[in-house]
Amino acid sequence: MATDAERAAGEGAAQKRRLDEDFSKLYKAHLRDVYSYSYYRVGNHHDAEDLTEQTFLQAYRHFERAQRESQGRPLRPWLIRIAHNLAANYYRDRSRRPQTAIDDAGPLAATHTTESLVQDRDDLKRILECVQQLPDDRREALIMRFALGMDNREIARALGRTDGATKVLLHRAIRQLEELVKKAEAGGA
């Protein structure tokens, strides 16, 4: 018959295995989210890879507590918050923001003619440049909404704000971006 110590050891090992499996699922489900967020924050693939790695390593260290405290809520906002904090350190350490908006414009979803492809690329580039001109919190909210498809509640949790404040933040970010894009198009036309 198993002793209390052996039973405790067995339960501990099973709990640890479950935790590792859960983390593996979290990682597989959100690698693209964390990478996309990192890429749009830092503006190049090299640093985005670095930031993604650091985010998951830090998440792994605190996963047990996060899982316990999440009470079944999705952990994506928590992951993005880690990436957000690490990205802030990245800028602080380097004392700079990205020199260029982005390495190259992101992948185009639909098929295009050569002419429209060039126009679309210019358009995407202009939009991304305008996104980079936004204040940090507005830019991050837009990345979370449009690159990651997060809803208001998730963004609020990731940014540590209320749902209402997040709704206002997104609204203002879109309005400001609209103005910036209009100005850029008027200037470039």
Binding site: A13, L31, I127, I174
Partner: protein, 129 residues
């Protein structure tokens, strides 16, 4: 929507944002590297603690304070006693790892085992009254 050159396009900023901020697929080598790193993380932590366990167990400051009368009563010799504590504590290292939830928990369990084994060594070696 097809756009004509020189004609102003409809200003749907949200659709344009969605296109500009398309999700980015991580490079395949990043996924492989991450999986490998995460897979070995537990082992690395365990190895670090194994090295730490050995040095911690040999340090008499981590032992429970012995009765000063032990020397007079013929208590265990320092070197042999330390060796015995190390040996007995190391025997339980796999069980400790299995039971531990994280590195801190593993450290605490190791210290508790060192203390318990050191006490046992002193009790076993002390002459029966």
């Amino acid at each position: 929507m097809e756009r004509e050159a020189g004609v102003s396009q409809p200003f749907d900023i949200e659709a344009r944002l969605r296109a500009a901020l398309a999700p980015i697929e991580p490079p395949e080598e990043l996924a492989l590297r991450m999986e490998s790193r995460l897979g070995t993380l537990v082992e690395l932590a365990a190895d670090e603690f194994e090295a730490w366990e050995l040095s911690a167990m040999r340090d008499p400051r981590n032992w429970p304070r012995a009765d000063p009368d032990d020397d007079r009563r013929g208590g265990p010799d320092g070197g042999a006693g330390a060796g015995l504590v190390v040996l007995r504590t190391r025997r339980r290292r796999h069980k400790r790892r299995a039971q531990s939830h994280n590195a801190l928990d593993l450290a605490e369990r190791t210290l508790r085992d060192v203390a318990r084994e050191a006490l046992r060594v002193f009790e076993d070696a002390a002459p029966k009254r």
